[in-house]
Symmetry: D2
């Protein structure tokens, strides 16, 4: 079986502008995610916003099985043309893993059809992600919960369609809960939203988070099948 | 309890251009749907594409609990501005009932996030809609299936997100099946896609179809609740 | 429309044995629930474990639209014969609202097919139930969350099938979350599991809880349809 | 990665009693299924009703990752004790693939909590199974539909809980449809119901059916995780 081809996309602006972020992710969030995925045996490359076509040319998209997406301060700078291509590729089979503040990214919002709004707070709170779907391949190797010492809080109501599978629900000390691991199927493709990952905390170096990401890549990888077919059709049976 | 306020929207082009359609629906498809809904005790008005703002002004939308949508040949003529307002109202709570060829309408596609493509054939085939969710209010008063003598065929794969509730599955003599009654929840609102209703057949005068429409209006009507709230939040509990 | 006929079932043992419970619910938990439902315009009666056939004779079940169930210390005393009849009536269309410790009741476990186990703690903790399905009739009139000052904690993993609709997720100060408002459809009937309601706290006098119960009764009430039909069938179409 | 350990269970009565069945499956349905799965690289054994403990001893169950189940004329001869053990193992993580007339088997009914009844007809009809969830690993390598020339018909309403994932919907020439490929998650385990497989047709030698079975084994195989934990718990956070 050929290796799953992963493209790790990152906005890569915070890391250049804010020292606090640069300290946590000196080579960018994408470099940390790529490093975490390496032991998974994937074929990995990275792409960032300020490259031509945001690094997501037709060739790159066509040869990507799973795209991971981290963005935050510059969602509006992503071109609608690239967004349209990314979404079309998802419907064709490419997996999309949307991370943390990517809830507000254009491709995720377009695929969900809702505002994807939520409540938030930056107070370096603890997060405890409880597994609520224990048979799911995304939680292979994960205990009954994952604990992260310092995170940005996201709280309900999270304006997404009802997830096709709800894998994690998060607890925060400030009194909120959040559906933090959500699976969606769209066309021939799959989307996983995974909440953790604020730019000022080294969350993408946490071994449980890295494990979930690798599991999610495998879950979201396309199955081999003919392209979806639509349009006018002759009857398969003789009409009376 | 105040009456549910329904706006029946119709493209209303076929009925003016094609004699075959005019014969079936002389006053327009909207008039037939409105007439069918009348015994339900709803407050009903109609709106059509060629009215200013397609008849869907801010005032109309703000005072609509459930919007039914029939369109076919002129989806592209619906202004993106009106589409954005319709979708925003759905997320705020307005019900949307998308009928037949409305699967390709802009508001439905935007709310689904997928292509909403399907297979089709015009051969005046029989359709048998089987109830697969018998506890659902949308099938109140409906037998184990609904039969329609002459319909346009729609076949799978229907490129929609997995319905939150699947109520009807259709059988066609040419060999196809179709998920023909599909419930979706989006934000604070609800969407029902209902397949039957080709312009050249008097389907909106069928008593079972009319019954499903009235049931669907009741199911999709908004519940009274505060508006959804988002954004930055103080903790509800004292942080340690 | 005829009034919905509700039977409020209660084990009614704690209230006789434990003074702390008697003080909160002097006439039994069933009396409090029945009183709370009264303004809803339902036709209400009660039934308890120590009545003949637990108060759930064939006549009572046949004339019950929605059954609410509270039990805790004596699940094992409920006869398997009555359990079989209750489950059969649910599949025929009777609504079942399972309350709090009723997660371990025989009818609920039989209808779920899983252990329905969970984690728990009696520490009079706060509970905050967040609405995660804001378009649902069960949350009509409910704000973005319900707060209860003193409750028994239930924590994930809650061993139920994935709910058909997840309406509430609870937060507890001890660090747990819980899927606390869960809708299930079974046969022609509907089941709502609602977590709050420990016997030592006056939770069934809380106005939000009472409101959810009344909403749930309406949601779970049967729709009028022919009985489900099964077995050998002649073809509906001529076989070639 | 260790090979997935599959136990192929068969009632194995028809094949001894009825010549028509013996001709199609001379060594039993289990032998045909086992042969079909062989290229998948699984570790396969078989078990049948008339062996001691139906071939499903504690040791066999403990060392089974996925159990496939075919039964029809002797569901009542399966001991309740073995049924309880099979269901407990599913909740612990063992996959269960229930085939055709196994819809009425004791383990499937117990795990579903419903009657699992349906409509049926033996008229050697064609079946066309349409894929309605094209991103699912169970349809890897499968075209937009599977066609079987001669089958027993099963029709809706199929009295199961709403599937967690609906993969196939079948069309029959007699006018019926059927949800014929249904995924369920129960506890830490997974269940796949797959309709085709009548004893008088060589369906388990069809290459598409064999492919789906192998895919389903992989989908249903347990993930490695700690056992589910329940019961009384100390708080994870300091209570105020």
């Amino acid at each position: 079986m050929a290796a799953i081809r992963v493209t790790v996309w990152n906005e890569f602006r915070h890391e250049k502008k804010h020292d606090a972020v640069k300290k946590v992710y000196p080579d960018g969030i994408h470099a940390a995610i790529a490093e975490g995925l390496k032991p998974g045996g994937f074929e990995i490359r990275t792409a960032t916003l300020d490259e031509p076509e945001h690094g997501l040319t037709d060739d790159v998209l066509a040869s990507t099985d799973v795209l991971t997406w981290w963005g935050h301060m510059a969602h509006g700078d992503v071109s609608d043309d690239v967004v349209a291509k990314v979404c079309a590729r998802v419907l064709e089979g490419m997996g999309l893993i949307t991370l943390h503040s990517g809830h507000y990214s254009k491709p995720f919002r377009k695929l969900m059809g809702t505002t994807c709004s939520l409540k938030w707070r930056e107070a370096a709170e603890k997060e405890r992600l409880w597994v609520v779907e224990p048979s799911h391949p995304i939680v292979e190797g994960i205990d009954e919960y994952i604990e992260l010492e310092h995170t940005e809080m996201y709280g309900e109501f999270f304006d997404i369609p009802e997830p096709d599978e709800l894998v994690f629900v998060s607890w925060f000390p400030g009194g909120e809960v959040f559906r933090s691991g959500c699976c969606f199927k769209r066309g021939q493709g799959r989307v996983f939203y995974f909440r953790p990952g604020h730019e000022t905390f080294p969350i993408y170096r946490d071994e449980n988070i890295v494990r979930v990401l690798a599991n999610a890549v495998r879950w979201a990888a396309p199955v081999e099948r003919p392209k979806l077919a639509f349009g006018n059709r002759k009857p398969l049976e003789k009409l009376g």
